[in-house]
Symmetry: C2
Subunit: 416 residues, 2 copies
């Protein structure tokens, strides 16, 4: 059994190991990432065997098939994890980047330089590939990482971390830069949340309940990720073919992810034509529409309750309403949106400007699907999560978002 | 008496007013800042009369003269507050700045744009000039502000905020973008700390106790400011005249501020010459040296206790020790430093590089006094505080640090 004191010891070891990693060159870090990738593939059998235990336990416990599928690793999935690490090796090193620099009035040289946070705590659910992804991103950004996965994936995570630690060591880095925090007891999450001074930032990834509890209880700074109650607003001046394609893509392309649309707002001026058309198309795609009074007149539409407007379905469901104008759409989004991604479909430049200015979210999309809010789509090459908070990082977080900065001030005996 | 519900109502009004302010043009905001400055001067008598009440109450209550002096306003000090607002008007508007932009593979245009946080809560002590400074910086960065000053300055703060609100209204902005949260009850601080969703960020400025309690209790994101246990390390290869000048400046130029030096570390190789010299010079300047065994051999040195190494004196005191080498200096700073400002004096380029890389602090200074860690000295034009945390902002915070960002993605019907 793991106690809080054990977690503190892991964190102390991570902190000690982080000093060396923070000063490691890109060459060393990339060599470690390639070694990690190679080891995952070479020792794939070991990982798959451990994963089979987790899968068996989940199935025996009656876990729904969808969740078991997310838990399951295959040779292809292990190869994809390895490829992810190689991709991170190919990305520029954020550490040492000079963000800003100038020579001050008295001749002092000022440089603001990117530096690692130090120690990052990841708290996440289900999918074991997050273990390798997070380890790779943290290592490249110079951060030691404490990985606290879910107990359902504990055998898989133990196997993956054992492989990664061996590989890190062969590359000449301290293996304690990658450590697994034992799952199975909520205590270990609590201990991470209390480890201010040892852990620099916690990143929870998972369901809304997990994220809320970490945000509320942690005294370690948190980067909030992922809850997405995203809307598509079809304006009076929308091209309706475009609108239909965007609504369908945003809802059905991958319903289980945070950038999928959960709400549809239609301007009154186009409602008569668009409401029947979009309802039919959504129904054909297997989507249940939870509609307001206007939508509810269409066949198959379920009348929406107040709760629907605030629900992140993550399934083939969408809440749909007609709004009198753009301001009403903005008001609805302010009230019910989660600050993730909000899209407008319009040919009216003025409406687009007003929507972009008036929406307070990580991403505002004009004539594009909400599904584009993604580190890969944005060209970041790697993504540790999508921040829905306003401090530090907002939207998809790549390598630079996993760093802090430090001012370096150089003089020749300057005093005030 | 003010209840938590009253604070929530203030925060709701701030939130509602923040939408308009966030979209106000620079011209409107600068006009408001000039109106605020003019009003402070024109209605100076009103402010001084209110301040006289606070001063009288403080004196009657036996408040130490130094604190009464920080509380006291004069015509000159009111003019300085007004000038501060005019200076902020002269600075570039951070809102709308495109931080990053590109065209994605499929032709989508991506822009990362600076936007205001929304509502900022300031919790601060004593000096009433912070009221005007914070209001100006928040307004220019497009943020509504809730000002929670200390009860000792409550009459002054009420008068200043009344003047500022009238001026904001004449410039066509909602007066609720600047609001005072009544002091006198800790409840109102607690209510601010619970106002997640209404208040976007809390910035505590003041003593270590205030800052710690906000950091630990708040569920609203916090930017931690100001505690400075700063060191000057005099290396084996230091020019000793330069070292002496920097130590004296860092300790004595303004001992009460966070970027003053509280610790002195001297490399063993120069200790025999430098320890007597620096001790004599510090004593001549009225500084009490709390020294390790080597320093304690000098006349007037008080033997240091373990506690001294962790103390932010904010007075004419310094903790001083001889270290065997640069690594020992780094280890001491890691253990006892507060991550604010750390200086090395050396002519050895390699030592400077190792110190810069090895110190984990907001600012690392080479051959310069710790006193340079300051928004004014860095050329930021305005400063809301000095962050000692790693998330979001680190070091002096100017206008850009008072913003978040938003991704704007523009396409022509793009779907995945």
């Amino acid at each position: 059994m793991t106690s809080s004191a054990d977690v503190v010891r892991l964190a102390e070891r991570a902190r000690a190991a982080s000093w060396g990693l923070g000063q490691a060159t890109r060459a060393t870090k990339d060599a470690a990432l390639h070694a990690m990738a190679d080891a995952l593939v070479e020792r794939g059998a070991e990982i798959l065997a451990a994963n089979a235990e987790d899968v068996q336990r989940a199935e025996a416990g009656g876990t729904p098939a969808g969740i078991v599928d997310r838990l399951r690793l295959t040779t292809d999935r292990v190869e994809a994890m390895a490829q992810g690490l190689r991709d991170v090796a190919g990305l520029a090193d954020p550490v040492g980047e000079v963000v800003r620099g100038s020579t001050l009035a008295g001749g002092l040289e000022l440089r603001q330089v990117r530096v690692p946070f130090g120690v990052v705590g990841m708290i996440y659910e289900a999918r074991p590939n997050v273990t390798a992804d997070a380890a790779g991103i943290c290592l490249k950004s110079g951060n030691a990482v404490l990985l606290r996965g879910s107990s359902s994936a504990s055998a898989s995570n133990e196997a993956i971390v054992a492989v990664l630690r061996d590989a890190v060591a062969t590359a000449g880095l301290e293996p304690d830069v990658v450590q697994l925090v034992p799952a199975g007891r909520h205590d270990t999450v609590k201990a991470l949340m209390r480890a201010r001074g040892l852990v620099d930032v916690l990143i929870p990834r998972g369901g809304a309940g997990l994220i809320r509890s970490v945000v509320e209880e942690s005294i370690v700074p948190v980067i909030e990720t992922g809850v997405g109650n995203c809307h598509v607003y079809v304006d009076a001046a929308a091209d309706l073919d475009t609108a239909l394609a965007i609504v369908l893509n945003a809802k059905t392309h991958r319903p289980s992810v945070c950038n999928a649309a959960e709400g549809l707002l239609v301007h009154r001026a186009v409602a008569e034509v668009f409401v029947p058309r979009v309802t039919a198309a959504l129904s054909d795609a297997g989507v249940t529409v939870h509609g307001d009074a206007t939508f509810a007149q269409q066949a198959g539409v379920v009348p929406a309750t107040e709760e629907d407007w605030d629900t992140e379905y993550l399934s083939l469901d969408i809440a749909a309403a007609v709004v009198p104008d753009l301001d009403a759409a903005l008001a609805h989004i302010r009230r019910h949106g989660s600050g993730h991604s909000e899209a407008i479909v319009t040919s009216d430049q003025g409406a687009a400007r007003r929507f972009v200015a008036g929406v307070d979210a990580a991403a505002v999309l004009v004539n594009a699907s909400t599904r584009f809010t993604d580190g890969g789509e944005f060209g970041f090459g790697a993504e540790i999560g999508i921040s829905t908070q306003k401090l530090h990082a907002r939207g998809p977080m790549g390598l630079p978002e996993m760093t802090s900065t430090k001012y370096v001030v150089t003089g020749e005996g300057h005093v005030r």
